[in-house]
Symmetry: C2
Subunit: 392 residues, 2 copies
């Protein structure tokens, strides 16, 4: 029973080692029968990779037949040659799948600035296609990893007005050991029948509530991509009434995958949710939560199990949001630690105990509105420095 | 011979231990005779400290008689009581110096959220005043430190149309061991006779080119302040023709102090200048240089002596500035490493050697304009994590 990308009807996948990595799986394909309506969200980094440029174009196609993904090489900062290499792979795959190249998407993750050995990929396409199956889920999730420590999969089944539909997804986060890896990739499949524009809006919304709410180290990669394919194989068409149900289900799959990425963050020892409440706008709340989640001083304090509320106050204050510091409350795992901008009477022993837990919720309330936002992050550890210093 | 804050005529200083720290100097005063025209630039953190609120008000006075500075306690997140404590110190000092309280400025640095023991400060004022001298420069620079590893002083003498004038300054950066310290303070004195508005503009400009161009860990403190006092004791008045000369001299003193702060950054092993060139606007150049300087992935690579140009390219690309990645050039200490967005033929041995140096200049040119900006920073080391994890 599939628990990932082939959970919905009509999707098959296959993975192998094509030689970009020494022996681990490094090439994956997912196909859709019938061809699927696509939507995608891509990195805003202007130095984006060749496969990102290619997929941004091809995502405009009405239908997509397959996604080709390699790990071990990001095909970023590789110029025109990099684009030609990606296009060659896609053209060769299209010929074999009896479709046109614009019906194929491609993603890459791995080292930046090294030419992609496209011949290794092309030489593996026949075997890759031959092995396509509904039971290769785990291999597919493994093949897109760089040096993540575990495969990331999530599924969901919901009842719409026309019947049941399924959503499945896989993702990768920032890796370890190899220094150039900080790519976030996610591929989501669903067998619902859905209009392209509605799918695009739903994906954008879900990404804003999930992948765009996590931060490991504030560095945005050249290859970040989230792609969804909807093939209608369930024979259930999304109605106007189903929209909210579908959006919520898609959001929950995306949140599950996003949280797995944070848990597997480089050197992470803690999973941290930063919640900003009582803000005038959601944008303000996002800024405050993000400023706290990205603060190296807050992150090292979390690693040290150190209930250093002064750093949280200072990080909220530098967020660029204007608020009255005398109205600021801070809670750690629900324990009121700062009230009206001043130290509250929290029991230091209880606080210390909460900080030794693996999961920490930092709630900041500026008491000036009804909007809130959550950002998920991890701590900053010695191991983060180790991982990113070592160069092999 | 003074090499700091009493280098210009008419300034005296004195420092002692008042008991906020165990035995190190923790209280400093600098006085001006005649009283000086002031200007100041303060933290934009909305959770700013009580002495910052006080000094922001008092800086509007025509003349300032003295600045009182304590270390060991930031008097931040201390509410109305914190403000009352700061005001009590200032009032007691004003009585003793025969001036009004608004003619005194105050700065504090140290732990956040702990009530200031103002009685310790007040009980020390008589001795502090008695010991005022032109030869206490080094003590004054020491007393404002938290756990910086060295005192930071800079001076400059210039010839204006009316004669010679002097500028002197001291500063502190982010400390070590104690976890709440990330304050930047600088005090500058000059004996030029200058209009208050012109002084304010000159300070703003100089700070924008110096202290606002450094980043240790992207965390903005609750107490950051730069204050200048100009007392006219040289009997040389600044003329319209002198403006550029004076501005440049003030800028050079500020840059000297700012660079010392970076060299003494928490856990720093390298001094790094990031220069963004060929930009449409200075604002664009600033964004690109800052994005690279704040990237944990770039900073850990620098610590590891790792010429990882892919991270520099990715950090430039995520800056929010739109540019053509195929026009991007990157130099490390002048060695062309990326040309037109692609790996150039830099000798890996030469590159490795440059990265082992203590000073590294990263130059990024997007070849689309004539504006440039420089940001100074340091690397991200194991020691940074050590320093900020330990809580005593």
């Amino acid at each position: 029973m599939s628990t990932g990308i082939t959970y919905p009807k009509g999707f098959k996948t296959s993975a192998l080692n094509c030689g970009l990595k020494q022996s681990k799986l490094d090439l994956m394909i997912v196909t859709s029968d019938p061809p699927a309506t696509p939507a995608g969200v891509f990195t805003k980094n202007v130095c984006c990779a060749a496969p990102v440029i290619l997929s941004k174009n091809h995502i405009n196609s009405e239908k997509i037949k397959a996604i080709l993904v390699n790990s071990g090489n990001a095909n970023a900062a590789t110029g025109d040659e990099g684009y030609a290499n990606a296009m060659k792979c896609v053209e060769e795959l299209a010929t074999r799948l009896n479709c046109i190249p614009t019906e194929i998407l491609m993603s890459s993750t791995g080292i930046i600035g090294v030419p992609l050995q496209s011949d290794k990929i092309i030489n593996s396409l026949d075997v890759l296609i031959k092995n396509l199956s509904e039971n290769n889920d785990e291999n597919a999730a493994q093949a897109i990893l760089t040096t993540d420590t575990f495969a990331k999969k999530a599924v969901c089944e919901i009842e719409l007005s026309g019947g049941k539909i399924k959503i499945g997804g896989i993702a990768k986060g920032s890796g370890m050991i190899m220094p150039d890896m900080a790519t976030m990739l996610a591929f989501i499949t669903t067998d619902v029948e859905i209009d392209k524009h509605i799918l695009k809006v739903a994906l954008k919304k879900a990404v804003d509530k999930s992948f765009n709410r996590i931060t490991i180290d504030s560095d945005t990669s050249t290859n970040d991509s989230v792609i969804i394919l909807a093939n209608g194989a369930s024979n259930v068409a999304l109605t106007e009434d189903d929209k909210i149900t579908f959006n919520e289900a898609l959001e929950s799959v995306c949140i599950d995958l996003a949280k797995m990425i944070v848990r597997d963050g480089e050197g992470a020892t803690k999973f941290v949710a930063v919640i900003a409440e009582g803000c005038k706008t959601e944008n303000d709340a996002d800024k405050i939560a993000r400023s706290i989640a990205n603060s190296p001083l807050v992150k090292t304090a979390l690693y040290g199990c150190n209930p250093n509320w002064g750093r949280v106050v200072a990080a909220a204050g530098k967020s660029g949001v204007s608020f009255d510091q005398n109205k600021l409350d801070v809670y750690f795992n629900g324990v009121l630690t700062v009230k009206n901008g001043l130290k509250a009477n929290a029991d230091p022993k209880i606080l210390k105990k909460e900080f030794e837990k693996q999961g920490i919720e930092i709630t900041v309330n500026i008491n000036s509105g009804n909007s809130q936002a959550t950002i998920w992050t991890c701590d900053l550890s010695h191991k983060y420095v180790d991982i990113n210093v070592n160069y092999s």
